[in-house]
């Protein structure tokens, strides 16, 4: 209980600290408005050329709202990899270990606090743009509740991925290269710009098995087209991905910290 309160307070402090970056967050969010406008124009042409009123099972308004969610999630991702990379390369990690905190749990709390603020602002701006361009889509309390279940798991999953990328600094000069490749993978295979259902059928099983889909596509789909079947499927995939990622983080951190305890910061 005490431990939960302690990490909860770290998240709260991170959220408050992030409010100081209002300018930066607003700038990033304005970028989101530009992206959404461009995609709106693009999808309008695609839908006009298509004989179907739905593409990948989504109507034009649903498509734009899907993009609002996936973009809001992706752009709210804190630079965890960069923090871990800095901790390792500057020796700051050694200082952090002097405190009675779990290194992973502390970063997770900070990331969640920071992310909630960024996501809320992104969602607000994205919603305004979507409302102006395509209007509202049908929503229900149960649909929003299901979205609220899938979204935090997506955040946790994204954290573990970024944290793993950061830990690569134990073996590489810098984690920046790995981070660049990893983020492109999340964008492409997570369904950020295009719903995964648009990809060739042969790729579908692989794309849905990869953890990236659970980070972006799952919350995006759940927001625009919620169902209990989708919730069950998403949670199952997210659960497997979280267990897999957490296990990897545990193993990599074990090896990395053994290196630290042996060779120093």
């Amino acid at each position: 209980m005490r431990s939960a309160a302690r990490y909860g307070w770290i998240g709260y402090t991170a959220a408050r600290s992030n409010m100081a970056y209002r300018g930066e967050v607003l700038f990033r969010s304005s970028f989101l408005a530009v992206i959404l406008y461009i995609f709106m124009r693009l999808w309008t042409v695609v839908f006009a050329e298509s004989k179907d009123s739905r593409i990948a099972g989504l109507s034009l308004p649903q498509m734009l709202w899907y993009l609002v969610i996936t973009e809001a999630v992706f752009l709210s991702s804190p630079r965890i990899w960069a923090e871990v990379d800095q901790d390792v390369r500057t020796g700051r990690l050694a200082v952090q270990l002097i405190r009675p905190l779990s290194y992973v749990a502390e970063h997770l709390s900070r990331a969640m606090g920071e992310r909630i603020v960024r996501f809320a602002i992104n969602l607000l701006i994205g919603s305004i743009v979507a409302l102006v361009l395509v209007g509202p889509i049908p929503m229900s309390i149960s649909g929003l509740a299901m979205f609220a279940v899938v979204l935090p798991v997506a955040f946790v999953l994204d954290f573990f991925g970024m944290f793993l990328v950061g830990l690569s600094a134990f073996w590489l000069e810098s984690a920046a290269g790995v981070a660049l490749i990893y983020m492109r993978c999340v964008m492409l295979f997570g369904g950020m710009f295009l719903p995964l259902e648009i990809y060739p059928d042969a790729l579908q099983p692989a794309l849905h098995v990869l953890p990236f889909a659970s980070m972006l596509s799952a919350p995006g789909r759940m927001f625009v087209d919620p169902s209990f079947a989708l919730l069950k499927e998403s949670l199952m995939r997210q659960g497997v991905a979280v267990v897999g990622y957490a296990g990897l983080v545990f193993l990599v951190q074990l090896v990395a910290f053994r290196r630290l305890f042996t060779n120093g910061g």
Partner: protein
């Protein structure tokens, strides 16, 4: 009374792997070489030495971050590398160049967070926080974001934050680095005062001779992973810091002077740099003589650099005990 620090034959070797083409070369570096030390509870100790001497490695082992190759250590009754989490509740640490304060929030917010991190009871937290605000004069900037504080104010808040859970032992690594003379002196006084009043054991590392003289009662010089000198600061100062560097600039060509215990380090037409052995001639006498030698434009009295003192310690025969 807490048991302080006990170190027995503590050794740390680092394995260094280098690639030469496709050939892997493995070498071993001895960072800490069988150190034996006892630091009683409440003592204030300066652990000094040149870069790469083994100070940081020793401190990292004492805080449990590094595991030793061999030997034993006990900090407050805990084996640091085995009981790191438990020990963390009784340890405070300040690293001059690494802040634990939240940059965009006022120091008060970091204090609130630390109260939860260290499970400090609310009443106890408020009492300690108010005491620290009073002693460290933090009141005027407790609600100002850290990014807007001067370095001196930030370091005062930094040290206060690390004392919030009333640690039994404090590790201070270059706490005054980058501070101006006044801020440096203020911080030294505060650390010393807390050590005396609260009985907190202080382990300080610094390259600043002033920090050592003002904060520590005992100095331990480490080099090549071994304890080279260990004794009360006064005794070591008398023995090794018994000299001052005098730097004088003249408006015109000065008259030559010869004073016992004064050695010229560099000498140009308008500028003298000399080392004064204060055990032979007090620096005040030398200053008076210099002022009479010509029209002085500028004069500065400095302590010899610590590296010079350490170099001197070596030139006088390696291992010895001053106590």
């Amino acid at each position: 009374m807490n048991p302080g620090v006990e170190i027995r034959a503590l050794t740390k070797n680092f394995v260094l792997t280098r690639w030469s083409g496709f050939r892997r070369r493995v070498s071993e570096i001895v960072a800490v070489d069988g150190i034996n030390l006892d630091v009683p509870a409440g003592q204030s100790v300066a652990l000094i030495g040149p870069n790469g001497a083994g100070k940081s490695t020793t401190i990292k082992m004492l805080t449990g971050i590094l595991h030793p190759t061999s030997g034993e250590a006990s900090v407050l009754g805990f084996i640091p590398w085995r009981d790191r989490r438990k020990l963390a509740y009784s340890v405070g640490a300040v690293f001059g160049q690494r802040s634990q304060l939240w940059y965009h929030l006022p120091p008060g917010d970091t204090f609130e967070l630390l109260a939860r991190v260290y499970n400090i009871k609310r009443l106890e937290f408020i009492r300690t926080r108010d005491l620290l605000i009073d002693r460290f004069n933090l009141g005027p900037f407790m609600q100002t974001p850290v990014r807007k504080l001067s370095l001196g104010q930030r370091m005062r808040a930094e040290v206060a934050a690390s004392l919030l859970h009333r640690p039994k032992i404090m590790f201070l690594d270059e706490p005054t680095i980058g501070l101006d003379v006044i801020a440096r002196q203020e911080l030294r006084d505060l650390i010393r005062e807390w050590n005396r009043n609260d009985g907190t054991t202080v382990v300080l590392t610094s390259h600043d001779a002033g920090d050592i003289e003002h904060v520590a009662e005992r100095v331990i010089v480490v080099n090549h992973g071994q304890v080279v000198v260990d004794g009360p600061v006064d005794a070591v100062r008398r023995k090794y810091l018994g000299s001052k560097i005098l730097r004088v600039q003249f408006h015109g060509t000065p008259t030559r002077i010869a004073i016992a215990g004064v050695t010229s380090l560099s000498d140009s037409e308008y500028e003298w740099k000399m080392q004064v052995d204060t055990t032979i001639t007090p620096v005040s006498e030398v200053t008076a003589a210099v002022l009479g030698a010509g029209a002085v434009a500028d004069i500065a009295i400095e302590d010899p650099p610590l590296e010079e003192v350490i170099a001197r310690i070596y030139s006088e025969g390696g291992k010895e005990e001053s106590s």
